[in-house]
C-alpha cells in the first residue's frame, strides 16, 4: 500500500500537468492546481506517517522513502500546496496587469506541475541515476518557467540558468558514475543495485576512498551549482529575480533544497568510504564561501527579488556549514534550516510578488510605505525579513543557533567567527533595505487594493509554520529530524 504511494505521489502532478494542457479556463486550471497540490501534500503526509511508524519504504526498486527523504518530501509538498493556493490570487492580478497572457496560462500550470513532479521524484529516488535524471528534469521544466515572461531579461536569465545548471549537473552525473563504478567493484563485480543509495551505503566502508573522493568533489560542484553554492551560484540571482513570483518561491524554497538532498545522499556515502572529515571540510569551504560572497551583494542590492536570491545563496551556505560542522547537532540544525529557510523564503517571495505588483517596480528605492497600503502583507514581510536575518523568536534563529553550536563544539572557531560577522552585517543590510520599504509614505501611483484572500491565506499558512517552529518543535518533527540525522551520519 505505502509503496504504491511512492510512485503515485509524483505521478499525480505529472498526469495533472498533462491534463492541464487541454484546459483553457483560468478558474478550472486554478482549481485543478490547488486540488492536485493539496492532494500531493496529503500523500506526502501519509508517506511521512508510514515511514515514522514502520521505517523506510521502497517501491519499484528505484524509489525509497526514509526519514531524510521525508523531510524534503514534506517541504516540497507543503510549498507546492501553499504556493498553488497563493498563485490563484497572484495570477488574477498578473493577468489583469498584463504580466501573464491568459491564453498561455495552461502552459504555465502544466510546467509548474511538471516541475513539482520532477522535484518529488528527486527526493524519493533511491537509485542515484533516477535522482540525477529527475534533477535534470527540474532544470528543463523550470528553465521554461524562468523565461516565461519572454522578455529580454527573462530569456537571458533562463539561458544562463539552463546552461550553467546543465553543465553543473553533468558534473553530478560524472560523480554518480564514479560512485557506481566503485560500488560495483566493492560488491565484488555485481552490478545489481550498485546504483541504489541504500545498497551503496551498505558497502560504504568497502568503497575505494580515492575514487569516492574524486566522485564526491564532482558531485558537490555539480549539485552545488544547482543548490546555488558560491562560487557556482551565478545563475541563481538572475533566475530568482526574473521568474514569475510563485516560481521564484518554488525555486528558492524547494528546488535548491532538492539539490542539497542530492549532496546529502553522497555526503553519507563519502563519510562512510573515506571518513567524515573529507566531505565535511569540503562542504565547510563551500558554505563559508557562499556566506561571504553573498554578503556584499546583499548590502548593495536594490532589486528586491535579487536581494532575496542572494539571501538564498547565504542560507544554502549556512546549511552546508551545518553539514560541514557535522555531529548530531550540526546535521540536525542543517535539516531544520532546510525546512525553516524553505518556508520563510517562500513566504517572503510571495509577499515580495505582491509588493512588486503594487508598485510596478522591483527597485526597493521606489517602494515606500508598504505597511500603509497593505497592512497585513507588510506585517508578514517584516516578520519574514526578521526571520531571514535570524532574529528570535522566528524559526531561522533556532536553526542558525544550532549550526553555531555545532561549530563551537567541533572547535572550528575561525569559521564560526566569519559566519557570525557575516550574519551581523547581513542583518544590518536587510533591516535597512526592508525598513526603507515598509515604512514611509507610499507614492500615489501605488496600488492600494486589498490583498486577495488566497494570497493572504497562503502567506499566513507559511508565517504560522515559521513562528511555530521558532517557538516549539513538535514531537513528530523532532523524531523525524533525529532519525534523519542518524541516517545521514550513518
Amino acid at each position: 500500500m505505502t509503496s504504491n504511494l511512492l510512485w503515485l505521489t509524483p505521478l499525480l502532478p505529472l498526469v495533472l500537468g498533462l491534463t492541464m494542457l487541454l484546459v483553457r479556463d483560468r478558474r478550472v486550471l486554478a482549481a485543478l492546481d490547488v486540488g492536485g497540490s493539496v492532494a500531493v501534500l496529503g500523500l506526502a503526509l501519509a508517506i511521512a506517517r508510514r515511514v515514522g511508524e514502520t521505517g523506510p519504504v521502497s517501491a519499484l526498486g528505484v524509489l525509497r522513502a526514509d526519514d531524510v527523504a521525508v523531510v524534503f518530501l514534506l517541504l516540497v509538498g507543503l510549498l507546492a500546496a501553499v504556493v498553488s493556493i497563493a498563485t490563484v490570487g497572484w495570477m488574477r492580478d498578473a493577468v489583469a496587469r498584463g504580466e501573464m497572457r491568459e491564453d498561455r496560462l495552461h502552459y504555465y500550470h502544466a510546467l509548474v506541475n511538471g516541475f513539482v513532479a520532477t522535484m518529488l521524484v528527486t527526493v524519493l529516488a533511491d537509485n542515484l541515476g533516477i535522482l540525477w535524471i529527475a534533477m535534470e528534469g527540474t532544470t528543463i521544466t523550470s528553465a521554461l518557467l524562468v523565461g516565461f515572461h519572454g522578455d529580454k531579461h527573462g530569456l537571458e536569465a533562463a539561458w544562463k540558468y539552463i546552461i550553467v545548471t546543465t553543465i553543473g549537473i553533468s558534473f553530478g552525473l560524472f560523480g554518480t558514475v564514479l560512485v557506481y563504478g566503485a560500488a560495483a567493484h566493492a560488491q565484488g563485480g555485481v552490478f545489481e543495485g550498485a546504483m541504489n543509495w541504500s545498497s551503496i551505503v551498505a558497502v560504504a566502508t568497502k568503497l575505494d576512498p580515492g575514487i569516492i573522493r574524486i566522485g564526491f568533489i564532482f558531485v558537490v560542484v555539480g549539485y552545488g551549482t544547482k543548490a546555488g553554492l558560491a562560487p557556482v551560484h551565478m545563475w541563481l540571482p538572475d533566475a530568482h529575480s526574473q521568474a514569475p513570483t510563485p516560481v521564484s518561491a518554488l525555486l528558492s524554497g524547494a528546488l535548491i533544497k532538492c539539490a542539497l538532498f542530492g549532496i546529502i545522499r553522497f555526503h553519507t556515502i563519502a563519510s562512510g568510504a573515506c571518513g567524515p572529515a573529507f566531505s565535511q571540510n569540503l562542504l565547510l569551504v563551500f558554505g563559508l564561501i557562499s556566506v561571504v560572497v553573498a554578503t556584499p551583494f546583499i548590502l548593495v542590492q536594490h532589486d528586491l527579488k535579487r536581494l532575496l536570491g542572494y539571501h538564498s545563496v547565504e542560507h544554502v551556505g549556512i546549511i552546508a556549514l551545518g553539514l560541514g560542522f557535522g555531529g548530531v547537532v550540526g546535521t540536525y540544525g542543517a535539516l531544520l534550516h532546510v525546512i525553516n529557510h524553505g518556508v520563510t523564503k517562500a513566504l517572503v517571495f510571495l509577499v515580495a510578488g505582491d509588493a512588486i505588483g503594487r508598485y510596478g517596480t522591483r527597485d526597493m528605492r521606489d517602494m515606500k510605505g508598504f505597511l500603509a497600503i497593505a497592512p497585513l502583507a507588510g506585517t508578514l514581510l517584516l516578520m519574514g525579513a526578521f526571520s531571514l536575518a535570524g532574529t528570535p523568536p522566528f524559526s531561522i534563529f533556532v536553526s542558525e543557533l544550532l549550526v553555531i553550536k555545532a561549530g563551537l563544539a567541533s572547535g572550528r572557531f575561525a569559521s564560526v567567527a566569519v559566519f557570525l560577522v557575516m550574519v551581523v552585517i547581513i542583518f544590518a543590510g536587510l533591516v535597512h533595505h526592508v525598513g526603507q520599504m515598509v515604512f514611509g509614505t507610499a507614492p500615489a501611483s501605488a496600488d492600494r487594493a486589498r490583498e486577495s484572500r488566497t494570497q493572504l491565506l497562503g502567506m499566513a499558512a507559511l508565517a504560522a509554520v515559521m513562528v511555530l517552529l521558532g517557538l516549539w518543535i513538535p514531537l513528530p518533527l523532532d523524531r523525524l529530524l533525529t532519525h534523519a540525522t542518524e541516517i545521514i551520519l550513518g
Partner: protein, 219 residues
C-alpha cells in the same frame, strides 16, 4: 574479442575523443565544431559497440545505437537547423585567446591523467583510460563554454562534456543500467530542445542578439 584488445581499442578511441575535443577548442568556425562533436558521438558509439562485444552485454549495443542516432545525428541536425534559421555569423569570437585555451586544455589532460594514475584497484573496474579521458573531456567542455560567447558554441561544449561522461559511464565495467542511460539521453535531448527554443526566442524578440551575449543582469 578479448578484454585486452578491447582495452586497447578503448584507449585509442579515447585518444580520438581528445583529438576531436582539441579541434573543437581550436576551431574558429561553428560548423567545424558541430561536425567535430558529431564525430565524437560516432566514436562514442563505436566504443559502446566494442565494450558490448567484449563484455557480451546486449544493453551496451542498444546504448551505442541510441548514442549514434541521438548524439551523432539528431542533436547536430538540431544545431545545424538552428544555425540556418538564425543565420548567424559563422565565425566564433573567443573571449580568451585560442592558443591560451589550448595550453589550458593540455594542462587539463595532464592533470586528469596524473590524478587518476594514483588511484588504486578500482581502476580495474573502469576499462582502459576512460576515466582520465572522461574527466579531461568534461573539463575541456567547460573550457569551451567559458571561453566562447556564442550560444550554439556553448551548446557544443555542453554536448562534448556529456560525451566525456558517457564514455566513462560505458567503460565502468558493463555500463550503467539501460533504463538510466535512456533516461539520461532523454534529458539531454529535452535540454537541447529547450536551449534551442530559448535561442530562437531571443533571436525573434531581441533584435538579432545572441543569447549568450546578453549582459543585462548584473550585480
Amino acid at each position: 574479442m578479448t578484454a585486452e584488445f578491447a582495452t586497447r581499442l578503448i584507449d585509442l578511441l579515447g585518444a580520438l575523443l581528445l583529438f576531436t575535443m582539441l579541434v573543437i577548442l581550436a576551431s574558429g568556425r561553428l560548423f567545424r565544431s558541430i561536425y567535430a562533436v558529431a564525430a565524437q558521438a560516432v566514436f562514442l558509439g563505436i566504443a559502446g559497440a566494442v565494450l558490448g562485444a567484449a563484455t557480451g552485454n546486449v544493453d551496451l549495443w542498444i546504448i551505442a545505437g541510441v548514442t549514434i542516432v541521438v548524439k551523432a545525428i539528431l542533436l547536430p541536425w538540431l544545431l545545424l537547423r538552428v544555425v540556418r534559421k538564425i543565420q548567424i555569423r559563422r565565425e566564433i569570437e573567443p573571449v580568451f585567446p585560442i592558443n591560451g585555451t589550448l595550453v589550458v586544455a593540455a594542462g587539463i589532460v595532464v592533470l586528469a591523467f596524473h590524478l587518476t594514475a594514483s588511484l588504486g584497484p578500482v581502476r580495474q573496474a573502469i576499462t582502459g583510460n576512460a576515466l582520465p579521458v572522461g574527466i579531461a573531456l568534461i573539463l575541456m567542455g567547460v573550457l569551451v563554454m567559458a571561453t566562447r560567447r556564442k550560444a550554439l558554441v556553448q551548446m557544443v561544449g555542453l554536448f562534448a562534456s556529456e560525451n566525456g561522461i558517457f564514455f566513462t559511464a560505458m567503460a565502468v565495467s558493463q555500463g550503467m543500467p539501460l533504463i538510466i542511460e535512456i533516461g539520461v539521453i532523454l534529458d539531454v535531448v529535452l535540454g537541447a530542445l529547450v536551449m534551442g527554443i530559448l535561442v530562437l526566442r531571443v533571436r525573434s524578440s531581441v533584435n538579432d542578439a545572441d543569447i549568450a551575449d546578453l549582459e543585462g543582469l548584473k550585480g
